[in-house]
């Protein structure tokens, strides 16, 4: 009996320990996966590779230091389309802790760009030692991220900086003329003249920010094709989308008439401040996880 009891207790204890360790391992794996997903979101260039040189650089334009290592690329997981990087290329990585690497070590590098010359130099945001994850790509343009698409982190930052984020439809677009100044008062003519226009947006839902009176907002946007506004969204009648809006601090006239009411004017100036409706699930998920 005593032996059985001991065995039973030991078995239970062992099973509990096993379960706990499995749960811990699962949690750790989950956390690592989350961490890697987070790193992937923050990184502009992700690749797996083999460390070929320590305290070295892969091309002349990069300043060599104890923190720079050369990595031969085995597989590209993520890169901008404009960047030429393929399997077999040597990349300079400025790492956070050079002692974590030895020549011949395999790792996946989560990085952001640094210097682009005859080769590529990047800065490490994080790394995972070991061979590349299953399914890692082997390079080529198919793995280039869409050049104009905001990363999750960039989109989060945009939405954090926005006063409100709405889903809506543009019901009207019209030219907006700044209030006339007195005769003889200073001009303000530049090649960066925005040629302001206004869009009336009918709101279907508010993803961030409080309710909007009358369910409509006026959004002022630049209509000139000058470099200053080259990446600012333009609006067209009946356009539907998700709009990241800020109170107007750009035009000098932050209020306008909408019908008979005096309302705040918004602007939507940054690249990616308008998104297609197909991005709604992503936007909601990012807002939820903040």
């Amino acid at each position: 009996m005593k032996i059985s009891s001991v065995l039973m207790r030991s078995s239970l204890w062992g099973a509990g320990l096993l379960l706990a360790s499995c749960a811990y391992a699962s949690l750790a794996t989950s956390q690592a996966t989350d961490s890697q997903a987070d790193l992937m979101g923050k990184s502009s260039i992700v690749f797996s590779g083999t460390v070929s040189q320590l305290a070295a650089t892969s091309f002349a334009d990069v300043p060599k230091s104890a923190q720079t290592i050369v990595v031969r690329v085995d597989a590209i997981l993520k890169k901008p389309a404009a960047v030429s990087l393929k399997r077999g290329d040597s990349v300079t990585v400025e790492v956070k802790d050079a002692s974590a690497f030895q020549e011949g070590a395999h790792a996946t590098f989560y990085t952001t760009g640094w210097i682009f010359g005859s080769g590529v130099a990047v800065k490490e945001l994080g790394h995972v030692l070991g061979n590349a994850a299953p399914g890692a790509a082997t390079g080529g343009s198919a793995h280039g991220q869409e050049q104009d698409r905001l990363s999750d982190q960039e989109l989060k930052d945009r939405m954090n900086a926005s006063d409100c984020v709405v889903v809506g439809r543009v019901t009207d677009v019209r030219k907006w003329n700044a209030p006339k100044t007195k005769s003889g008062s200073p001009l303000h003519v530049t090649e960066h003249d925005p040629d302001w226009h206004e869009a009336v947006v009918e709101i279907q839902s508010v993803l961030k920010g409080g309710p909007v009176k009358g369910n409509k907002v006026v959004v002022r946007f630049p209509n000139l094709n000058d470099v200053a506004w080259a990446h600012s969204p333009r609006f067209t009648k009946n356009q539907r989308g998700i709009f990241c809006l800020n109170r107007d601090k750009a035009t000098g006239a932050p209020m306008t008439k909408l019908g008979s009411k005096e309302v705040h004017v918004y602007t939507c100036l940054g690249h990616g401040d308008t998104l297609p409706l197909s991005e709604e699930a992503r936007v909601r998920a990012l807002l939820k996880n903040q």
Binding site: S44, E94, D148, S151, P186, N225, N246
Partner: protein
């Protein structure tokens, strides 16, 4: 598809071409000569200069197809192997990262992109100069940038090492200004920086302004240089020029009338004889007509203003350049564009003064009235030779010329640096090529930058060209380095040309 290494065609080809041109020149039409890419000499037949042209886009960005327009250049004069160039090039890896600069450490043979300006993603104006007063061999880069991410903000910033990853240090910032244009001079006591800006913070409409720092940018003083009544503002271009003896000139367009399409403008030059360190800077030159500071070189020029494509796919309205002889500060040249004769869209003019800006040539210097052209940039070499860079719309092509003269254009030598299709690629935004290009002199060279269609075709670059990016000159196509085709776009090109004797 294998990328084909580009090639320089000098000196062998050039010697042959020059001899051939001399023999056949009387038989050829000017357009044939241009198409053939010959060096055209007017008034003399000097030896062909050595010319180097390099597409700035590095090999590792071969997949890009941005409109990298409006180039600029800075040279570290104590260490002229180090240069910095810029264009409307976006950050290649992040929509929210810093806008980049191009850096060369080998005298322009190769260029790399380093994202260190204080502006997010892409500047909407950038000029810069490298002074030598603080003894940083890869600095001191002083930049004036406009950040247009929300409103328009001027940052005046510096980098002590343009190769480092440190974001440039912003020393001064303010809103409501336009088109910063930086010149700098290193002296033993530090860097003197002069930034021309059109400052809309001036409520009297006298907006032409020079931001002056005589302490390496630690402090700036904004100096108004327009003293006359304006139409409500001056033109966007305010251009300083600095001689080695501390004489500082500046040129600007004094707008006297503006109707939305045409500015009736004076071309005005001011001067300071003490590096703009005195109590009332830039008042050394006065016009005899009204005794006001600022010599009127040309009165009531009719300057077309178009924020839409007007000259090919390019906008027009404010091209202006001034250059002073670095060693003889009495000699100064000014170039600008106006409406010109009937039938012209935009006409360049160059005039000069040999008495510190007191009197000016009454007419354009010989051969410097250039029809349908823009982006004038002037520089004067140590031996007094003047360089005149411009881009002309001719026969459906943008033709980039560098003219040199040692005798105020009585005789001159013209080299066509590029002749590219003007209708391709389609503009992504304005400016198409830039509101300016740039020319500097260092040692026995003129060095400069211009923008052009980047088709890899030697016929477009009569002096030869070298592409860093992946290019197939046989097929005349670009690729991303992995064989995938990349569309033609506008790229910045660096050039160096030996100064004629």
């Amino acid at each position: 598809m294998k990328a084909v290494a580009s090639r320089l065609r000098f000196p062998g080809f050039a010697v042959f071409a020059a001899l051939f041109a001399l023999l056949l020149s009387p038989l050829l039409t000017p357009s044939v000569k241009r198409a053939a890419g010959f060096l055209l000499a007017r008034g003399q037949a000097p030896a062909p200069p050595s010319i180097k042209i390099v597409d700035l886009i590095p090999a590792s960005l071969s997949g890009e197809s941005n409109q990298d327009s409006e180039p600029f250049l800075a040279i570290q004069k104590d260490n002229p192997q180090v240069m910095v160039a810029s264009a409307f090039t976006p950050n290649p890896f992040s929509l929210t990262g810093n806008a980049p600069l191009y850096v060369s450490q080998d005298g322009g043979a190769s260029w790399a992109l380093n994202a260190i300006t204080p502006v997010e993603r892409m500047t909407c104006d950038i000029t810069h100069a490298m002074a030598t007063g603080e003894s940083h061999p890869r600095g001191d880069l002083h930049a004036g940038t406009l950040d247009c991410s929300s409103g328009v903000t001027l940052d005046e910033s510096e980098s002590n090492d343009v190769v480092s990853s440190a974001t440039m240090n912003v020393q001064s910032t303010r809103g409501n200004v336009d088109q910063p244009f930086v010149r700098a001079l290193g002296v033993s006591s530090g860097d003197r920086i002069y930034i021309g800006v059109n400052d809309f913070n001036r409520t009297n409409g006298q907006t032409a302004t020079i931001d002056v720092s005589v302490d390496g940018g630690a402090t700036y003083k904004s100096v108004p240089i327009e003293m006359r009544k304006t139409a409500g503002q001056d033109g966007p271009s305010v251009r300083p020029a600095v001689a080695n003896d501390g004489t500082v000139y500046a040129a600007f367009f004094g707008w006297r009338k503006f109707d939305g399409k045409t500015a009736t403008s004076d071309v005005v030059v001011v001067r300071d004889d003490a590096a703009a360190t005195g109590a009332n800077p830039f008042q050394a030159l006065r016009d005899p007509s009204d005794r006001q500071p600022g010599r009127v070189v040309v009165k009531n020029a009719s300057i077309p203003w178009s924020n839409a494509p007007a000259l090919g796919q390019e906008r027009i309205g404010s091209t202006l350049s001034i250059a002073v002889d670095p060693n003889k500060s009495a000699i100064v040249y000014v170039g600008w564009a106006d409406k010109g004769n009937k039938g012209d869209i935009y006409t360049l003019h160059v005039r000069n003064s040999t008495d510190r800006g007191v009197t000016w040539s009454k007419a354009d210097l010989p051969g410097t009235t250039i029809h349908n052209a823009t982006n004038v940039a002037l520089a004067i070499a140590n031996n007094g030779v003047v360089g005149f860079l411009y881009q002309q719309l001719s026969g459906g092509r943008w033709v980039t010329h560098l003219v040199q003269s040692h005798d105020a254009f009585t005789s001159s030598q013209d080299a066509v640096l590029a002749t590219v299709p003007a209708d391709q690629p389609a503009e992504q935004f304005l400016p198409y090529l830039g509101d300016y290009d740039y020319l500097l002199s260092v040692g026995s060279e003129f060095r400069g930058v211009f923008c052009a269609n980047n088709t890899p075709d030697f016929a477009d670059f009569p002096q030869g060209v070298r592409f860093q990016r992946a290019a197939d000159f046989s097929a005349k196509t670009l690729n991303d380095g992995a064989g995938n085709l990349v569309p033609i776009s506008i790229d910045p090109f660096y050039f160096s040309v030996r100064v004629i004797p």
